[in-house]
Symmetry: C2
Subunit: 364 residues, 2 copies
Amino acid sequence: MKLAEIDTPALIIELDSFERNLGRLADAAAKGGVGLRPHAKTHKSAIIAHKQIALGALGACCQKVSEAEALVHAGVPDILVSNEVIGRGKLMRLAALARLARIGVCVDDPAAVAMIEEAAGALDTTLTVLVEIDVGANRCGVEAGAPALRLAEQVARAPHLRFDGLQAYQGAAQHLRSYAERRAAIARAAELAETSKRMIERAGIPCPRVSGAGTGTYRFEIESGVYTELQCGSYVFMDADYARNRGEDDRMQPEFEQSLFVLATVMSRPTEDRAILDAGLKAVSVDSGMPLVVDHPGVEFIRAADEHGRLQLARPTNTLRLGDKVRLVPGHCDPTVNLYDWYVCLRQGKIEALWPIDGRGAIQ
Amino acid sequence: MKLAEIDTPALIIELDSFERNLGRLADAAAKGGVGLRPHAKTHKSAIIAHKQIALGALGACCQKVSEAEALVHAGVPDILVSNEVIGRGKLMRLAALARLARIGVCVDDPAAVAMIEEAAGALDTTLTVLVEIDVGANRCGVEAGAPALRLAEQVARAPHLRFDGLQAYQGAAQHLRSYAERRAAIARAAELAETSKRMIERAGIPCPRVSGAGTGTYRFEIESGVYTELQCGSYVFMDADYARNRGEDDRMQPEFEQSLFVLATVMSRPTEDRAILDAGLKAVSVDSGMPLVVDHPGVEFIRAADEHGRLQLARPTNTLRLGDKVRLVPGHCDPTVNLYDWYVCLRQGKIEALWPIDGRGAIQ
């Protein structure tokens, strides 16, 4: 079965470029002497997590307990929930997972440490804990330095928790457009992580792990010498937003290839300059801008309604006809993937596999 | 089980206000002497469609064949796919549905009429067809007047199609903020529909049905005397975007009540003026603006990441604590519903039912 025969909207992986992306980051991490723990919040797929592990990854990151459950039940043996988990129900589920796989979780609040210890104790299991510090993203995380030390001490004292280091992800740096800005943001993040790590070690608590980094900045985390583990997710697929980041030469030349596409069909062709696709807000996320139209220069995706995408045609328009298939590059890969149940995997234009999106909708 | 015990993020229906919304539009349609065919693309739920039919609705609208399949298989007897359907695969599925329920579909292209006839003929069934005219939304639809007549003639000649009238939905008018603008847009739409209807009838083809209208404009479609059927969807739930529409007195006083909420938990409380929720882009759609925080004046949802929502706290901040539950009003209800598998239905703060979202992800 070929591309043209796939019903739409469909989520497509181009396997050749996808595999090159996987290999490229695995090589960079190995050469840089750091671990790689790719983020599964991007792909939500056990098959892809297993492929990453086969290329040397330590395991996977997840963002939610239910996402971790989907992967552990599909055999992924080592997961860091790179996020805070709050509430007895979720923590009991997390502790239960720790009997099936190596499970880590982040904390940024003393009250949370007590709750996690209680859940792990109730199931007589051990959870690995990273203290999350705010390294500039202004999201979660305790302040670096003394507050991080106090949390680390609390974790180290808890009988069912194993303090393992720091979560130091600078999410706000990933889409800073200039290379220099991204480098500066990660230099500051690394400094905060290093200060915290030293304070903790001076207090006699081993702090072997500093985890963080994303697709937009991972080179800087490697270069810092502080980070021990990369959490990049989007590199497997890329998206229009990441592709707008500029490199050291100030040009937009992404080092990873676009491997994820939404396939859509022209469902209406009402005027010379307008074509309507069968893919709108429920088929492609627009939070980071409209999708890009590939293969059709001069055609722009200008508006997404719930189930419709409006294309503006600048050039002679008879090239797009009713029923034609169009490939779109999503503005933002992660929330787009979360709209689908399956990947349709293509190699050289032919379907090679269908992969379930195990963690689709796993938001708890 | 009560609100505070529901794990998050969760999609909540407040049944009392939801039921009042259902009754209010059913009454308005009955008084106005027009049919009501509520749009199921909003709720994607057979249970809700059945409730609407029990209150007098003619059936349901769907936007996609797979959405119609989900409802027909759950017993909804009469569905209009208020949209164009392109491609032999989808059309064969649509024709198969017509053996189980009354099924209508829209066309705006001569090539599509031939394809629909072929599918209906292949299964020896009959499909009801509305000709969609562009009444100002600049999306799908043929031009009103002569082009609409030509399509109607083509449909009327097709042995397995039953021409039933016009699809004349003015989507672009729904969120025009002023009452006068919305009224003017629908006056123009009704004029285009009426002209087309007269031309078709003068050609000897009965044109009993003019279908359209949404939550933002339905009063004008009723008043026009041209529309015979309302397709409102969002009125069952409402959202922050619809609530910004202004009434005749230029005030924002929605006639329907907010009945849909996303329940989220405070998962991090890192600074005095910041709280982080466990609900981001995968839990609430932000295409029409950020969600609103209810019950907490002075608290603003300022940024959504994939799995995090950042709250800015303007007032003394100790009112929101780690683990607190917060109700959010989605910016846009339809794509938010599409992120969930279940509604949690509450009455007076207690869970009364869980309703499956049958059409979740049904985008083909």
